[in-house]
Amino acid sequence: MHETRDSIKDIWGGRTPYYGSWPERVDERTLEEPERWVQSACVLCSNDCGMDIGVKDGKIVGVRGRAVDRVNHGRLGPKGLHAWEANNSPDRLKYPMIKRNGKLEQASWDEAMELIVRRSREIIEKHTSNAIGFYTTGQLFIEEYYTLGVIGKAGLGTPHMDGNTRLCTATAAASLMESFGSDGQPGSYTDLDTTELIMLAGHNMSNTQTVLWTRILDRLSGAKPPVIIVIDPRRTWTAAKADVHLAPRAGTNVAVLNGLQNLLIEMGKIDPEFITQHTTGFEVLKKTVSSYTPENVEKLTGVPEGDLRRAAQLIGEAKSMVSTCLQGVYQSNQATAAACQVNNIHLLRGMLGRQGCGVLQMNGQPTAQNTRETGCDGALPAFRNWDNPSHIEELARIWNVNPVIIPHWSAPTHAMQLFRYCEEGSIKMLWISATNPAVSMPDLARIREILDKRDLFLVVQDAFLTETSHRADVLLPAAIWGEKTGTFTNVDRTVHISYKAVEPPGEARSDLDIFLDYARRMEFKDKDGQPLIKWNDPEGAFEAWKVCTEGRMCDYSGMTYEKLSKGSGIQWPCNEKFPDGAERIYTNFVFNTGFEDCETFGHDLDTGAVTSLQEYKAIDPKGKAWLRASDYHSPHESPDEEYPFWLTTGRIVYHFHTRTKTGRSKELYDAAADAFLQISETDASRLGIKEGDWVEVTSRRGMVQMQAAVGKIEPGQLFIPFHYGYWDGDFRPRAANELTITEWDPVSKQPHFKYAAVKISKISPQQLSEDPDKEKQKGVFQSIGSLIDTISGAILIGGRH
């Protein structure tokens, strides 16, 4: 056993102070001495740290960071160092299962796939392929997404395909499209190495991307440390490092950001030349933000006037600036509008496209960027515009199909709508890959009902039995990271290759092989009667993907598996012009808004109404960025007499998503074994609640019970981590999403997890209710009983360290 540090206790590791070039520090954790190392990258958050997988006797025995990699320079965080243990978990799914008489029973691959094909054909015949939907993930590889995308769009021709990335990253994409015409991050991680100011909006980076936070901690301890501004209602570890911490009330981001813009304009801290030459919409923006005076903003948001002024002053003085946004913006009221206001600040000050200046509209999941790029996330492949006929023709040419097969009569169906169609019965087959909506979606009672509908044929491919997968009619065992080869891209456009290091358990197959098998059995053909999918392996899929991206902004055409295997990950665009990838995009300040290229014609930020092709042609900004203005609107559900508290939900440092992987590492499991309710000292003492007391939290949609953790949050606000469900034992109701609201941003369609009105009451341990998911197949879940025994009961909270 070799461990460079105990990352559970020492999350970010020791400091390597710097300015300019981030020093290497190789983090490692192996349980045995590896026989060989296999190149890969971490898939436990959107940072995608380069790592090598240590293998011995055909088993993964540990990992170490890749010193050459531009993303992490060798470092790894607690999830990266531990969660690989999930690969070796005894409760991996090992063979396909078919539900017979209400019970999942072992089946052969032939039986399972034939059943899926038969049902697909029956449904298409009776109801067209509009009755088939796909709900995928942010954790597969490019090769798998792209194959799935082509199957959906050119094989079946269904508009119903989305990813759980809708829950984590849709607003990043939407805001980039609204401001710059297309998805694609303007910034680069290296901007953090020299920038004078970092603004984190709704982004608790210290918890969500620990290695990226390490980069900032190292800057803070080196020469010329950057100024930090944090916008977050909670006093997080991130906020603790802030020079100015703005803690607005839930749902009021737009008001705060309008206030900042108003002050910047008033103080003359804007770049008029940049605004005139490279943007459009300034006058409307100026008028809109003019009423957001510091006094008004304080009334709307609770942020003290002086703090707002101080933040604006610091931004106004900085010669370079990087901003990041995450779920505190994306999953809250007016998500897209708020994220656009962050883009605006950079546009107003001309702080883009050069060293030290960038916006990082963060992603949540490791391969979320690729769901978006490949067209599995309510978009068309390679940032093409569903509303632009020439883009559809281009795709039809690439796939050699008739353009009419590609659904483009409306925007591809977003996840929330997809589940609504299942609920009302017009989608009759839903294929879920590598995600767990029965814990991660809002209003779980409703989601469970939908998944359990008798007239919904549910296919799930996953590595484990989860709260979702046990509901499947056909359950397919999937190989995961380390057991298959593929590529994926992080938030600063860095593409990594991850090689197969070991064999998957039992009969498990890669998601790519499953999709390829389906395509073969369904006999999808191109125009000439040849197989639609012309590749059989990951590298073939990657080569096909390169063709699809050539000439587009996310150009992969200059990459090969060989090139990606040489050292560091490589940023797109990578082509003839940039054979080693481009550090930044928009360096000439020509944005992707031109009519011919743009990925969207834009939306009304308040209603989500789309701008038509004709309307856009008339106002074609031809490469100027959009300054999008928006007034603040209060959230649709606010605390009232009956439900007096704001609930916000989120992540903790040791877990990812619904813990299907992180929950299978004993150390990570123990570090944060159970959900908890974070409550302010004021509210706790008023209600007679002490640390560790049991409380019941109720919203209009459901109820949860958990122990209280007191402090580090504003009065009136409550926080519950969303990772906890029911797979690891019989629990009382404890999934945060029992409480959340079925409602979404009008543009990005990302659900509003960050606010719901709730009430709380103290209860005794005897009053705990039954497991709401108790119908799950107990027999199969029992194999993880040993893990449950290790529950320490300790609760761990974001702000306490």
Binding site: N130, S426, V610, E743
Partner: protein
Amino acid sequence: MFIANYIGLLHGSETHLKDSLLKVAEHHKSEPDIEYICQMLAGWSDMHIQHLEHFIKRYEEAKESEPDKLQKTLFHGIRKGALGLLRDLHDLYLLATEVEISYMVITQASQALRDDELEKFCKDAIKETERQINWLKTRLKQSAPQVLVAAG
């Protein structure tokens, strides 16, 4: 001068639009976006109606029965389900275009009357009516294929 009649017509149609938006929000609660967006759009119509009072006083509104008739044919009883929603959105669209064209007509008249205030009001309001129409179009386009092809 018939301007008073037309302001009456507009007042009636805008009121019907608001009421119908609220009804649709209520009837189709299970479509979460419909509920809150229709409520928001009804709020815009409500603002217009409040502003209109001022001009009604100025031009002494003459009541018009036309919009009442219009609404009666469009909304008779609650329509349920996905097809019901499609039909309701369709009708809302027709109501909104009635409002839009009324603003356009009155804008023209306001110019001839040299009533800058009325002209400005109409020009601002029509922008929001257009946004209402655009949303209805977007949502109709989204619903139509699913309802007409896959449902049932």
